[in-house]
Amino acid sequence: MDGSFDIPDPSDWLETPLKGFSDLENALHCDICKEFYDTPMITSCCHTFCSKCIRTCLSANGKCPSCQTSDQASKLRNNWVLQTIVDQFLTARPAALEVARKEKVQAEQAKKPGKRKRAVLDSDDIAQAEQDGRTTRSKSRRLAASQTSEPEAVEISDSDGDEEYAPEQQPDDGLIECLLGCGKRMKAEEMGAHIDRCEEEKQQEQANRAKSRTPVNSFSSRPAPAQNTKASERISELSYSMLTEAKLRQKLRDAGVPNWGSKQLMIKRHMEWVNLWNANCDSKGRRSRNELVRDLDAWERTQGGRAPNQNGLSSTIMRKDFDGTGWATSHGQDFGRLIADAKRRKNNPATEESRPKDVDTVEVAAKSAPGPDTDGSSILPPNSSQTSRQPEHNFPETERPYENNLEAIASIRQKVEAANAGRHIEPVMNAGFDNEPVNGETTPTQAENPVEPPRGAQNPSLLGQSHFGMSERGSMSRHDRSGSECELPGHLQSSPMKVPMFAMPQRPISDVDGGGDMAER
């Protein structure tokens, strides 16, 4: 618990003989922030909280957190006595804690068989301290005083300052002390002149002492008339519901506060600013406006418009209940495809090879889960459909990439309807492709086949395996078309390039089972 970074905590006292101090320290904590009172304010229901804490609460729901009585921020009054107590306690705390801890060590040593310290200590006091676990201050002072090895302990217990002043023995140097008791010593002949001066000095000193003493009991920090006038600097909350967004924006700008964001955010920001500002007005150690602006910025980053995210959890940490295996299973297909893609690209950096693959992935994406990205390099959204069943296609497609293109949507719908009509053919097509391990590493979809010319040459044998005329003819005819051009190397590049983006799905969907041909007929 020792160390310069030690944060004061009531539990510090629990391991010392001064266990009662733990409760005392708890009593000096604000119930809202659970820290020492900072500018305590008393409510009209006589509860005390930090200025900032109670102002935040009142602006949130207008009720005292302790007793739920309605209250207003303007009725808060400073509790200066408590402020002084907290300040003084904090000043005295480290030394007191040190003494208490040392005492514990001593007590433990005294318990040991050697009992070396017992000779030094008043054994009655020690025994009592051991018995009831707590000591009065006078007792602890006696204890401390009896420990000759710790002179600082004596000083500490004197810190309450009401000890009698024991004058030193006057040195025998032939000088006379000032008759007015200022403590100065001088020759007898200087005394007359000194007394005149001393009188003035004394008066001045008294005035000074009156000033300098006040920080100790904090009278000077009490809002003297001067501070009361400063209280008028406090700003009041606006009746936000009466203000239009533009007016509120203007008000924020006038206050020198950021004015971006929605009305709701601006209201919250203004309330925070009012609370920060007024709490600063309450406190005796005023901070500069810049510091308040910095505080507001911290608020913005943690609770305002630039907060990490809505639920307050940082995005870098994975949710505990995140279903990793489920995600991996449902997206295994995509991961596999991406890995295969990357491998292929690495092996064949030639553009001729990669271009058709690009088309390939676009089609896969369009079929299984169409996304706005055409290179297929991003992971698809978790709710996207993984199967290539027709009815599921049209929802995401109409929702996303072709949203604004009525023509494309109409076209897609038409094709989908057509495809739905002949859907029964689909599984057999799949089976046919499964037998053909040409494209093993990518998802075998029917759509790939006709558009991917390199496999064109293999298609006849493949299609020969399927036993239904219609789709065979459909695919064949398509193949024939592309097959003739397939001989031209230039076609590999030009064909995908020519097709406009929104029209992409037309081909795969029409190709799926020859539905396109059906529609044509």
């Binding site: 009531p10 809202i32 659970k34 935040t56 609460c57 911290a298 959890l313």
Partner: protein, 165 residues
């Protein structure tokens, strides 16, 4: 980045580690994120929950302590005031204000002067003494009211199962 909420949560965390109440352990799952806590609550002695350890998750809102956290048990716990999905229904976890149904007084509800420690202590006493006036798990509440021996038996079986016995 140090908000009011994280400062206060840190304060409470420190307090709970140095001076924990009996039968309760709680702290952030990860010290980088003070807004997600895990708590372990011992089944109170003298109740059918005795011997059980009930892990729960506490999620804190950004504007904590103005608003209360939510609490969810991670294991099955058959209790009138715990929803079947584990969410705890107890007045101290309800946002400040009046209860529209007048089941509970404003003073029982969340207020910034409450703390994680008080929540966990309340939950512990809720486990010991269910409140069947506004049950979250109606079946459990009915069982508790009408067939107490069956209820006890079921809870004990759950506890044994959760301990792997």
């Amino acid at each position: 980045m140090n908000s009011v909420a994280s400062k206060r949560l840190f304060q409470e965390y420190k307090h709970l580690t140095t001076d924990p109440p009996e039968g309760i352990t709680a702290g952030p799952v990860n010290e980088d994120d003070l807004f997600l806590w895990e708590a372990l609550i011992q089944g109170p002695e003298g109740t059918p929950y005795e011997g059980g350890i009930f892990p729960a998750e506490l999620k804190f809102p950004k504007d904590y302590p103005l608003m209360p956290p939510t609490m969810k048990f991670q294991t099955d716990i058959w209790h009138p005031n715990v929803y079947p999905n584990g969410t705890v229904c107890i007045s101290i976890l309800h946002a400040p204000g009046e209860d529209p149904n007048h089941y509970e007084q404003a003073s029982e509800r969340w207020s910034p002067i409450q703390s994680v420690e008080k929540i966990l202590i309340s939950v512990m006493s809720m486990i010991a003494e269910p409140n069947d006036e506004s049950p979250a798990n109606v079946d459990a509440a009915r069982m508790w009211r009408e067939r107490k021996p069956d209820f006890d038996k079921r809870v004990k079986a759950d506890v044994r199962r959760s301990l792997g016995l």
